[in-house]
């Protein structure tokens, strides 16, 4: 700030790495480098003054000393300056405001811009597919019949893959992998010998990276054929009831074969969280992901431990690109597809199918999800999030919200 005492006119500007927006009848400035906030009430006079900010024309406006005083803007300006989110400079002899690029996304594929140009969206449509899951079996633990967690597999009644599934999946896989090098997830019951050997036969020759998802109790009879560290890894599901012996077997297998291994530990209570942490500490194991699991009865656990709290959001630093991404698509779901044993392809297993792989081409299904899909493009544009200041600071809606049947996962808004 230029401190010449007689300087009565200023330009007030917001840096291009900060966002300026109006929510809850307040103006907010959020700095994407340090997560600092500044805000002031959004009066109609200020709305006029800040029109260039609000309309994304210029992130600099003219401000006179009188206006700053009359609208009690000093604390707001101070907060903006202290957070390095903008500045107030003397207008001096300048007759024009400096130009600061508003931090607004210009996305070439935004629907509004594309209008009917479907060609644009359909171009190189494969590049939008990042991961594809092949469900081969709904149950991963054969003995006690435990279903895959609801958040992963949902309540859909899925019949295990029928004999001869290779004939359905193979042409699809072939078509897919000619032009694509994303990640393949294979959800299967590894200890079913027959299934395991066909998994090896079908997937091992495919160059894409593969992740085998299975239950801790469901150890593959042999790793022959699949054991290639460069293109395979394992994600093994553990619950509080799992036998420690099973975990140890996997660890032993890992030390013998050097496979890539991650334990996905389903946590539905504080107690389970403690147990998992204990085990990790005892065995000095780090490759464990604690996965909050809603079992229909533990809403309280979520409210206590999983819901976001304002004090966390206030210090959250989200970069500009992530904020832009969250405005455009669901960063949890985008680019993922799920294939069920009946040949139906889903953007999300709980939503309607995009079509049957034997009937509709993959590019068409990807295009469909890109242009009208409810999953890839589901963002926080519903209430209460739509009018919340953290709308784009909060992560995209996720499976937990689906499981709990809520639009938001916070204590801020009911």
């Amino acid at each position: 700030m230029n401190t010449e005492e007689h300087a009565m006119n200023y330009y007030f500007y917001i840096e291009n790495y900060s966002l300026f927006f109006e929510k809850e009848e307040r103006f907010f400035v959020y700095n994407t480098y340090n997560g600092k906030w500044a805000d002031c009430p959004a009066s109609s006079e200020l709305r006029t003054l800040f029109t260039p900010f609000l309309e994304g024309i210029n992130y600099a406006v003219f401000l006179s000393d009188e206006a700053i005083t009359a609208y009690q803007l000093w604390p707001f300006i101070e907060a903006v300056r202290e957070g390095f989110s903008g500045d107030l400079i003397s207008a001096g002899d300048a007759t024009m405001a400096p130009f600061l690029f508003p931090s607004l996304l210009d996305f070439r594929l935004e629907k509004r811009k594309l209008d009917k140009k479907e060609r644009e969206l359909g171009q190189e449509v494969y590049s939008n597919l990042k991961e594809i899951s092949f469900f081969l079996h709904p149950r991963i633990v054969p003995e006690n019949g435990l279903f895959l967690p609801e958040q992963i597999f949902y309540s859909k009644e899925i019949v295990p893959v029928a004999e001869g599934w290779q004939q359905v999946y193979l042409p699809f896989l072939h078509q897919l992998t000619i032009n694509w090098d994303g990640i393949i997830h294979i959800w299967c019951n590894c200890c079913d010998e027959k299934m395991w050997s066909s998994v090896c036969e079908v997937f091992a020759p495919i160059p894409a990276f593969k992740i085998v998802h299975t239950a801790v109790e469901s150890m593959p009879p042999s790793l022959e054929g699949l054991l290639n560290k460069d293109t395979f890894s394992y994600e093994v599901y553990v619950t509080d009831d799992s036998e420690e012996e099973c975990l140890n077997k996997w660890l032993q297998l890992q030390s013998e074969t050097d496979i890539e291994l991650l334990f996905q530990w389903l946590i539905s209570s504080e107690k389970e969280w403690e147990n998992a942490s204990d085990w990790m500490e005892r065995n000095q194991i780090e490759h464990v992901n604690l996965l909050p699991y809603y079992n229909g009865e533990n809403r309280f656990f979520f409210e206590e431990h999983i819901y976001v709290k304002e004090k966390d959001l206030l210090f959250e630093i989200i970069n500009k690109k992530d904020i832009f991404a969250r405005k455009m698509f669901n960063t949890n779901y985008f680019g993922k597809l799920f294939l069920c044993p009946d040949g139906q392809l889903y953007a999300h297993p709980a939503d309607d199918s995009l079509g049957k792989i034997s009937e509709v081409s993959l590019p068409e299904m990807i295009h469909q999800e890109l242009s009208e899909g409810r999953t890839w493009l589901s963002i926080r544009d519903q209430e209460p999030c739509a009018s919340c200041r953290y709308q784009w600071i909060c992560p995209s809606p996720s499976d937990l919200e689906r499981a709990l049947d809520r639009p938001n996962l916070c204590h801020l808004k009911k």
Partner: protein, 502 residues
């Protein structure tokens, strides 16, 4: 390229930081801070050094010194003000890129004939230019044309489509394409019969319309996208003459009007105009004329200034007219600019400026997932061969587009061997060029926005680049556009909201 560049407009000081793709208003202390930082002077000593070296500056900003130092150091933590030059990757062309471009071909352009029933004074194949093969009145024969189509039809059978709802233009170019209708009709029939159903093909043609009347039923029936070359009113059209030197205006206007009358829907949907600006017309005049007569906004282009015949340079520049200069001559400049907004040179320039130099612009979903901090480009301004189109001349030579000279064909087609494209030699040709220019490009500040196609280089074997931009030039470039934005800030918002860049 240095990562941070300080520059001024007449009213304000700015910096551009290429690492973060960010423009900032620059405090006067930051330039000396950056110099001290580069000299590795400890931040603790900056105040003393500045007080000694720039006493006036220090005196003026003494009170602000701690704040702006703190902000400078904060920005440094975010990657601003890097000492090392910006890390850039210019990748070589690979044969798989050529393959992909061929798989996803968007446009096939056939030079149906190199004969023409006009003799426009500024024609690219006329006396003003010297970079084309001698025109011997050759027509492309349908057998060759079909071989090109066969090549792609076979290719698509082996390689599944990577795109959905792929549209493809099959374009007929000349000379004057309407002089070889038998070829066009055979090709259209072949495409209709043999193309896979997933491909939405669309026929298109550029025509001078001398033979429009007798062909209009067919063009309308096949829904040709028709681009009509028309420079405006009679005076404006006076370079477009027949072989006897007579202005084509009186011949073509009634025919275009008949098309509009007989096929109003087709005319409304599929017909466009293109005008070349020269010393006998103006942008405003052309816009007004075409709007009034045909209710259309024409595209406007300038004369191509590469490949000029050295003996005709003076004549060329007498005829040549720059669009921006022509716009300035408009009586109703604001109205003209509004109508022509997307095509305005300043808007196009600003579009390149904002899309290449800020982090606000994202092209594809994929770009959200990859870091764009380091630029990854293939040979600066040249497109990947066949990524825009494939151009087949009437003599059966193959090029990546019709706008370049004929010295370096990338393949050929004949009736016996079909279409021959040797990917490896194309890749070698492009990469040899790249290896000769890369050191220069790596130092060039235009790299991120380079549009210098290698085919326009005077000597492709020993390239030197006329568009090379040094730091001073870059500062001027940044300053010009920031000044434009200070004056007309709404331009940027309108570009963001309305224009989709390809």
């Amino acid at each position: 390229m240095e990562a941070t560049v300080f520059f001024n407009t007449p009213q304000h000081s700015y910096l551009y930081d290429a690492t973060n793709k960010a423009f900032m208003h620059a405090h006067p202390l930051w330039k000396p801070f950056k110099a001290l930082e580069d000299q590795e002077v400890s931040a603790e000593d900056w105040e003393e050094r500045i007080r000694d070296s720039f006493p006036l500056l220090y005196e003026q900003y003494q009170v602000d010194f701690p704040y702006y130092k703190k902000k400078f150091l904060f920005l440094k933590e975010q990657g601003f003000f890097q000492k090392l030059p910006l890390k850039r990757t210019i990748s070589e062309l690979g044969s798989e890129q050529v393959d992909r471009a061929l798989d996803d071909i968007h446009q096939m352009v056939f030079e149906v004939t190199n004969r023409c029933n006009l003799s426009c004074k500024y024609c690219g194949y006329g006396e003003l230019y010297s970079n084309y093969d001698v025109r011997e009145g050759v027509d492309l024969n349908a057998a060759k044309g079909k071989k090109v189509l066969d090549y792609f039809i076979e290719r698509w059978k082996l390689r599944p489509p990577r795109s959905y709802k792929r549209e493809m233009y099959i374009s007929f170019y000349g000379g004057e394409p309407l002089l070889n209708m038998p070829f066009i009709k055979e090709m259209v029939a072949y495409v209709e019969q043999h193309f896979p159903k997933e491909i939405n093909y669309q026929f298109s043609m550029t025509s001078n319309c001398v033979l429009l009347q007798k062909n209009m039923d067919y063009l309308a029936e096949k829904n040709f996208h028709l681009l009509i070359s028309l420079d405006g009113n009679e005076e404006a059209q006076s370079y477009r003459v027949n072989h006897a030197g007579i202005n084509s205006f009186a011949t073509i206007i009634p025919q275009i009007k008949a098309l509009k009358e007989n096929y109003p829907d087709y005319f409304g949907e599929s017909v466009q105009f293109n005008a070349v600006i020269h010393n006998r017309n103006t942008v405003e005049g052309v816009l007004d004329f075409v709007k009034r007569e045909f209710d259309k906004t024409p595209r406007i282009s300038e004369l191509n200034d590469s490949g000029i015949n050295p003996e005709k340079v003076d004549e060329f520049f007498k005829t040549f007219q720059n669009i921006a200069v022509s716009l300035e001559k408009s009586k109703h400049r604001e109205r003209t600019e509004q109508t022509y907004f997307i095509e305005l040179p300043k808007v196009r320039g600003l579009g390149i400026f904002t899309t290449r130099f800020t982090d606000n612009y994202v092209r594809t979903y994929d770009e959200f997932f990859i870091s764009t901090n380091c630029e990854r480009l293939y040979s600066p301004g040249t497109c990947i061969p066949f990524s825009k189109k494939i151009f087949v001349t009437s003599t059966g030579k193959v090029y990546p587009c019709e706008r370049i000279g004929e010295d370096h064909p990338l393949g050929s087609v004949d009736e016996v061997n079909g279409l021959q494209i040797d990917r490896e030699s194309i890749v070698a040709f492009y990469n040899t060029f790249l290896s000769k220019i890369i050191t220069l490009c790596n130092r060039c500040y235009r790299l991120a926005s380079c549009s210098s196609c290698m085919y326009y280089f005077k000597d492709i074997e020993h390239p030197t680049c006329e568009d090379f931009l040094n730091r001073n030039g870059f500062e001027q470039y940044l300053s010009d556009y920031m000044q434009l934005l200070e004056n007309e800030p709404h331009l940027q918002a309108r570009i963001r909201e309305e224009i989709t860049f390809s």
